[in-house]
């Protein structure tokens, strides 16, 4: 045996070797078993992760779908329940006074629950903790918890509960309640519930924003649609993108006919060039000048007819794209009314003309009357000789000339005939001062002129310009008379402004100025600070009308140092 089968020692060694192998294998087998278990755990964990990721994805999708909040909240709640294994719960929002839960929906999980759903759900108990801490909280032994005292009768049985907050701007505005999970909740559940709470909060915020957007859009739409004014927007290519009903009525194009068309369909040809320039300029400078100012021009209807309109423009930008919105009002009626007022005021100004002539005639008439009576006296007292008679006649004739001149100058002034042409400001001012010389001297008003440039010419009807100037001067003179001030002075200046081809003429007095409370109204027709005994106060209104309507200039007034300053701004030629 020894020889055939080797030595005993060898056998023993072999056996021991085998034993070792077996032990090794056993160890290996043990390790293998162990790693299999580990692997199984990994698989479970992986599945859990998968489930979590899937639920989270579903939740995100729900948020992105931007549904009504109640629908979204229910979905998010369901995903959360099925992920965590909770079988009951609800979603509630904090009432506007912050004292109660307002339940959106409640899931009793098949358990009987007889609590009246209209009962208030005050913020107390475990949910109060969640509201206060902005954290998910749970209790796996709810029946034994201190919160049971708050449970209303007939409430579905609760083994365990969890609350997760809905947080907007770091404030809990609602809550998701979860309950009755087999085996109870754990920390991971709380973490997940917080995430779903966050989803619900985002969905809530989105739905609120959307509601706001919808209502403001609705509001804009109804404002735009019910407006009598035309509201029209164009894009940077000048194509119409918004066309309200008012625009439809005003221009005769329907919404379908207008949208997408160039805005030039409503612009008369003569404005096309200036429209093109100002539109391009507006886009390049990103401002429409004059923004907010009302421009008066004409619009063109679908049938080619034109009508006057008032227009205001605004330029706006959305995501780098520029748009221009214009609001237009048909000013046909207003123009007619203006014309009527102007005609009335012309009639009244005829009345003023008579008063003025009467004023200028009184002294000469009186003087002539005295001369005639003295001729009679000369005869009575036997002193009527050639010398006396000649003196009386020539004095009377001089006075008659004065009467006739007065009529001439006034009728020139009030004459509505004549054509607009270029004239010198300086000579026009001079003529006015000549006409008013007697009047101004009579009222002890010193008039000084400061013209930096006597060659300034402007365009218009000179007679009308003079009328405006005289009305302004008369206003100052009347003010002097009313206050009885001494040292009366009026300074008339004229100058060019910048290189815009404009000229100013300012008329300033030292009469103490105008009460700031009424300074805005002094150009109104029929506004007067004078008593009943004097004119109807149309002078300044007429002046403004002439300068602004007839001559396209501007007449403004402000208080200066010692009095009031009227400023006429017109295009110089």
């Amino acid at each position: 045996m020894k020889n055939e089968n080797g030595s005993y020692e060898e056998l023993v060694a072999e056996v021991s070797e085998l034993r070792n192998r077996v032990a090794e294998l056993e160890t290996a087998n043990l390790l293998l078993q162990q790693s299999g278990r580990e692997h199984q755990k990994d698989v479970v964990r992986l599945r859990q992760h998968e489930a979590e990721i899937e639920a989270l994805l579903k939740g995100s999708r729900t948020v992105l779908e931007n549904q009504e909040f109640k629908v979204a909240a229910r979905k998010i709640f369901d995903y959360c329940c099925s992920l965590l294994g909770a079988t009951a719960g609800y979603v509630a929002l904090l009432s506007s006074d912050g004292t109660e839960n307002e339940v959106l929906f409640l899931e009793a999980g098949g358990l009987p629950c007889t609590v009246d759903p209209s009962l208030p759900m005050p913020i107390r108990g475990l949910r109060e903790v969640s509201y206060r801490t902005n954290k998910a909280v749970y209790d796996n032994d709810f029946i034994k918890s201190e919160w049971m005292k708050f449970m209303p009768e007939g409430h579905a049985a609760l083994d365990n509960v969890m609350f997760s907050p809905l947080i907007i701007d770091s404030k809990t505005v609602g809550i998701m309640g979860l309950a009755n999970k087999k085996g109870g909740f754990n920390e991971n559940d709380a973490k997940m519930a917080e995430v779903f709470g966050e989803y619900a909060a985002i969905a809530l915020r989105n739905s609120r924003t959307l509601e706001l957007l919808e209502s403001s859009e609705e509001m804009f739409r109804s404002v735009a649609e019910t407006a009598v004014d035309a509201i029209v927007s164009v894009n940077s290519k000048g194509n119409i993108i918004l066309w309200n009903q008012g625009a439809g009525k005003m221009f005769g194009y329907s919404l379908e006919e207008a949208v997408g068309k160039p805005i030039t369909i409503i612009i008369p040809d003569r404005y096309l060039e200036s429209h093109r320039k100002s539109f391009l300029k507006a886009l390049s400078t990103n401002t429409y000048r004059p923004t907010g100012d009302i421009v008066e021009l004409e619009g063109r209807r679908k049938d080619g007819s034109e009508f006057p309109l008032e227009l205001s423009l605004a330029l706006w930008k959305v995501k780098g794209e520029q748009y221009v919105t214009s609001i237009m009002r048909d000013s046909t009626l207003r123009k007619e009314k203006d014309k009527l007022v102007f005609e009335q005021s012309q009639q009244i100004s005829m009345g003023e003309l008579l008063i003025n002539i009467a004023h200028h005639w009184r002294q000469p008439l009186n003087s002539i009357g005295l001369i005639i009576q003295n001729i009679e006296d000369d005869y009575k007292f036997h002193e009527l000789n050639e010398e006396n008679l000649n003196l009386s006649v020539s004095t009377a004739m001089d006075e008659l000339d004065r009467l006739s001149e007065t009529i001439d100058s006034f009728s020139r002034l009030y004459n509505s005939e004549g054509y607009a042409k270029s004239f010198h400001v300086w000579s026009s001012v001079k003529k006015c001062l000549d006409i008013m010389e007697i009047y101004l001297k009579g009222n002890e008003i010193l008039v000084n002129t400061e013209f930096t440039d006597r060659e300034i010419t402007i365009n218009g009807r000179e007679a009308k310009f003079s009328q405006a100037l005289i009305n302004i001067l008369t206003n100052s003179a009347d003010n002097f008379k009313a206050t009885g001030q001494k040292e009366r002075e009026i300074i008339i200046k004229s100058d060019r402004i910048g290189d815009f081809g404009k000229a100013t003429i300012t008329i300033a007095d030292n009469g103490g100025g105008i009460d700031e409370k009424i300074i805005d109204r002094i150009f109104d027709p029929y506004f007067t600070t004078k008593g009943k005994t004097r004119g109807a106060g149309l002078g300044l209104y007429l002046a403004k009308t002439i300068i602004e309507r007839e001559m396209g200039g501007k007449l403004t007034v402000k208080n200066v140092n010692r009095g009031v300053e009227f400023s006429i701004e017109v295009i110089s030629t």
Partner: protein, 125 residues
């Protein structure tokens, strides 16, 4: 005593800024009254009044330096019953003075003026 006789005894102050009218009226009155003083504004008029104490004051209202109403105020301070005739172009309340005896609206008529002088003189005595 008829009006002509009464006029012949009276001294009159006439205040008016328009030279032609003033000269015309003065010429008219000089032939009928005892003494005529003329002034071209209220200030001069007041000085003359103080110096000559005339029976009748005839004045315009709108005048430079010192207007008629202001002058009259000062005259009435001095003599509350002074006979005053206002001659004005305007038939407005603001050209009247409650203590004046008569307000005549221009143009001035010879007879109207002399009648007014006499009646105011009689009333002031």
């Amino acid at each position: 005593m008829d009006n002509i006789e009464i006029l012949k005894q009276l001294s009159v102050l006439y205040v008016e800024d328009d030279t032609l009218i003033r000269k015309g009226v003065v010429r008219l009155l000089r032939r009928r009254c005892n003494e005529i003083f003329e002034a071209e504004n209220g200030k001069v008029g007041l000085e003359m009044y103080m110096n000559y104490n005339p029976d009748i004051v005839i004045t315009d209202i709108e005048m430079p330096v010192m207007n008629g109403l202001e002058m009259l105020e000062r005259i009435f301070e001095h003599n509350e019953t002074q006979a005053v005739i206002i001659v004005t172009a305007y038939n407005d309340e603001e050209y009247k003075h409650k203590k004046s005896c008569r307000v005549l609206i221009k143009p001035i008529i010879n007879k109207e003026l002399t009648d007014a002088i006499v009646s105011c003189y009689k009333g002031s005595r």
